[in-house]
């Protein structure tokens, strides 16, 4: 029996295997940027559901408000004005937030056991009670999502409303969206829904419309339908081919096990040496001899 409402697939800084016999539904959120009107209902719903409050900030010259994600604002709308000869001026609005990677870089980089959990349904969740505030998750994230709170020095980000999904509800942002730009369901269904929409967009002249489900991080559980999928960077710098930073992969994938083996070998060697040879003591005979010599000198 599981002792939690969602099955765990991966746990930060933990080597024991999670239970894998059960197979639960893999979920996904699909954000269709071509349907988004940038109303920010999702931002408000996120704050309300998660009992968060954002301070009144300053205007950065665009509609971005707040201008960046914070420890309180786990999702923000990013407004990009893009000019091209082909299509003239376009206003590309993207709901930014955690992508819930299949292979999460934050989890890989995290040194605190159980601070980052990936559930079997695909949700990547932060558990602040286990967070040590080191900020490695920020370095490990290919999308620059986690934010460290100034209040408690712990990392926060979108939970995909794991508490709602655990009881069979959709995330708060999905429910609130008045244009139907955000959808939620099984990952398979979301891909089908995206295909239908992409066909529609292509018929309307967006010949490069496509799905953003980057393979570099094993696919994501938050996917975008982009009308210019050939250039994701147009959407306020969405990375074209996100991957976990090589330093994190190298350190956690190769260097860490090697170092662990080295430490274990040294400890084990020490133990065996102690048991077999005992401590390095001066024998009584030598001690007596030395004392005699000292007395003779006096």
């Amino acid at each position: 029996m599981a002792l939690q409402s969602l099955d765990i697939a991966k746990r930060s800084a933990t080597t024991t295997e999670p239970p894998q016999a059960r197979k639960t539904l893999e979920v996904a959120k699909l954000i269709d940027v071509s349907k988004c009107i940038g109303c920010k209902a999702c931002q408000v719903a996120c704050l309300q559901w998660n009992d968060l409050h954002e301070e009144v900030g300053s205007c950065g010259g665009t509609y971005d408000n707040p201008t960046d994600m914070t420890a309180n604002s786990w999702t923000v709308m990013r407004y990009a004005e893009v000019e091209s000869e082909e299509r003239g001026l376009e206003w590309l609005i993207r709901k930014d937030g955690c992508m819930h990677c299949e292979d999460p870089g934050c989890l890989k980089a995290c040194p605190a056991p159980g601070a980052i959990i990936k559930y079997a349904n695909g949700i990547v969740d932060f558990h602040q009670e286990n967070c040590i505030g080191c900020g490695y998750c920020v370095a490990g994230c290919p999308f620059n999502v986690p934010r460290i709170s100034k209040k408690d020095s712990k990392a926060y980000k979108c939970t995909l409303c794991s508490d709602r999904v655990a009881v069979g509800l959709e995330p708060a942002c999905v429910k609130v969206c008045p244009t139907g730009s955000i959808s939620f369901g099984s990952k398979e269904d979301m891909k089908e829904l995206a295909d239908e929409r992409i066909t529609e967009l292509k018929e309307r002249g967006f010949k490069n419309a496509g799905l953003y489900d980057p393979a570099g991080v094993g696919g994501t559980h938050v996917m975008y339908v982009l009308n210019h999928a050939d250039k994701p960077s147009l959407y306020s710098g969405l990375p074209a081919d996100p991957t976990i930073a090589p330093t994190v992969s190298l350190w956690k994938g190769f260097a860490k096990p090697l170092a662990m083996a080295g430490i274990a070998a040294a400890a084990l060697g020490g133990l065996f040496h102690y048991v077999m040879k005992g401590p390095n003591e001066v024998s009584k005979e030598i001690e007596a001899e030395v004392e005699k010599e000292l007395e003779a000198e006096k």
Partner: protein, 195 residues
Amino acid sequence: MQLSRRQFFKVAAGGLTGSSLVAMGFSPTAALAEVRTFKLARTTETRNTCPYCSVGCGIIMYSLGDKAKNVHAEIIHIEGDPDHPVNRGSLCPKGAGLLDFVHSKNRLKYPEVREPGTKEWKRIGWDEAFTRIAKLMKEDRDANFVAKNADGVTVNRWLTTGFLAASASSNESGYITHKVVRSLGMLAFDNQARV
């Protein structure tokens, strides 16, 4: 490997200490990870209509407690009503933030009047407010009502007072508001019935 009597005791004592520490609770934490508990599990759900615009989205207000005698209900969360035909659970950013509107310090909860020449708002009773409004409306209508225009055609206009009635009201209240206001001759008028 050869163990002396002394070495055997050392190893046995080490093992005993370790297992005793675990038994006393100094063990590594179990590999658990529970999501935040669903905060609406036993709240009271009350259906209502969003008070902002004339779209009239359905909302559900979640309040603390089960309405037992000694419990003082307090709204802790508001969400769109998924069964409402108008919005089917969705809301705009203003509607999504209704909780802060409900708990706002600036929320108007009783009639107030600002007398001519003052800058202070004064709290008054409902009866006083209704009487005052009715009296002022009648005075204004008696003074400015236009029964016939310059050509002698009956127009029955009252142009000096406007009426702004509630949005998000039912067909019936829209109909009644319309009847009352239009039969007084008022033209500057807006309410739900426009939508």
